[in-house]
Symmetry: C2
Subunit: 304 residues, 2 copies
């Protein structure tokens, strides 16, 4: 089924203990689209860049089958730019530069051809923009998944709570779940957040895996223990892109299938961190993905 | 098969956000024995207390079928005492008091009736004392599991490395694995530690679960997401006690069975933290344990 993804398409400059990059392609919309594209389902992207954005980077998305009709290019403006430096343990990072640029006035225009999409992925953006996307869809999608971050909880909590009423699945990390709920225990936090609108909650714990909550049900998927994490940038977006990509492909939103989708998302994320930026995602084969999903099964499987 | 456990039997005084205790029964030997006792296998304890240790606390162990012949009581001396205060998130704690007392001169005497044990659990103690226990056994046990902590890596690394050569399974937490190996990645740390002697390594990650490493094989068991953690004291000892208790009961040390043992250990630990000290462990039924093991299966199970 067709998938509509919205999120930033941008420049990242990354420093990790393994090296540093110049401005390379990044942004939530980029990682989500690339990850979802592996599931052979139409991926339609709505995003905005400036006229400094290289055609080659857009071509990279097109080559993976991503429809970029909805990617606006603003003449005379610059693309969103983020620069960050990861610490030795890769679990914390300093933001060195955030230049909002075109993202500051982003008006998410939905091309007519994108109407009727069954799956909607709202990548991390201003909650007001996320809500606008929902309101501009003529028919409500079968499933709306939303990512957000602590920044919006600090500066736009009311807007955020308003969008939460309209979505099906919220995907945030453990610290964000604690901030949003005011609860330390993730189980208690989940209960509170599921009372705010979404019927399903995913809590990402990075190297510690991910939790899926729905009603009284809980599923846990570990992260694959890796010998080295080269660059964590985009891992969370890649995860959720794989999650919704798998659901759109299989068109089954049962809890059992969401469990599988979490495993596929985790497998995609485990590739993402192996190289800088989108490098590993671009060269990945579907066979490698299937083989890694089996590694997750071996890692977590037991008989009692 | 019979299990020999060695470790401290002591007083703990605990403060958590939920309340505080007077001196109550604690110590690695206590939690290990109580946990292992649920597996209906003979549990023989070697430990030392002072004459201030209440008979009622020793009776509590006996009531669970723990053989306390090897529990020495030193006249005119005091028992080991630890007091600690947990912070709000329960993940960090301050040690308020550590009084070594009888543990300072502990000579682990093995009663003749304990000779021939098939399973040996070396709870956290001076590495030299742990090694003495191994040397005093006439026949090498089928499986030797050892727990230790960062303190011994700081003050007795040579002794620790010497015992590592003699054991089969090492059980430590993630920070200890990083300190022992000098590696941040747990996968790389495991590779190095498996080159130091033990054929199997368990890395405990507290609320983030546990990893089992053997040769190239890895298994991950999540921790059960709990609404509240009342008191984490003894959870690690309870975990490893359940692990070796299950192995001794089933007498199968294959990797597949160790996976099950990790799940049983994790289930035991999930009970331990529900109340202060040993309180929940003492009142637990075997049926509750089996039911919780099924919760782990539901939590971690998926089909792909």
């Amino acid at each position: 089924m067709s998938l509509l993804a919205i999120g930033s398409v941008a420049f990242d400059a990354i420093e990790t203990p393994y090296g540093k990059t110049d401005k390379i392609i990044g942004g939530a919309g980029t990682f989500i689209s690339l990850s979802a594209s592996y599931f052979k389902t139409p991926v339609n992207l709505v995003a905005v860049v400036g006229d400094d954005f290289p055609e080659a980077y857009i071509q990279l998305l097109k080559d993976k089958g991503v429809d970029t009709t909805g990617l606006q290019m603003k003449e005379g403006e610059k693309s969103f730019f983020w620069a960050g430096r990861y610490h030795n343990n890769m679990n914390s990072r300093d933001t060195l530069v955030t230049e909002l640029n075109v993202l500051g006035t982003f008006d998410p225009i939905i091309p007519d051809a994108y109407q009727g999409c069954e799956y909607l992925m709202l990548g991390n953006l201003t909650p007001a923009v996320q809500q606008t996307v929902i309101e501009r869809l003529v028919k409500r999608p079968k499933l709306i998944v939303m990512d957000t971050m602590n920044f919006w909880m600090n500066v736009a909590m009311d807007d955020l709570k308003s969008v939460l009423q309209l979505i099906d699945v919220l995907c945030i990390n453990d610290e964000e779940a604690r901030q949003l709920s005011g609860e330390y225990s993730l189980r208690t936090a989940a209960k509170k957040i599921l009372g705010m609108g979404p019927k399903t909650l995913i809590i990402k714990k990075g190297e510690h895996g991910a939790l899926l909550f729905q009603e009284e049900k809980i599923f846990f998927c570990p992260a694959l223990p890796l010998e080295e994490v080269f660059d964590p940038t985009g891992a969370g977006d890649t995860f959720v892109g794989g999650f919704i990509g798998y659901l759109a492909k299989t068109d089954d939103i049962s809890f059992e299938n969401m469990k599988r989708a979490i495993v596929y998302g985790s497998a995609m994320a485990s590739f993402c961190v192996e190289k800088f930026g989108t490098e590993r995602l671009v060269e990945l084969s579907y066979e490698e993905l299937l083989s890694r999903v089996q590694e997750f099964k071996t890692l977590a499987g037991f008989e009692v």
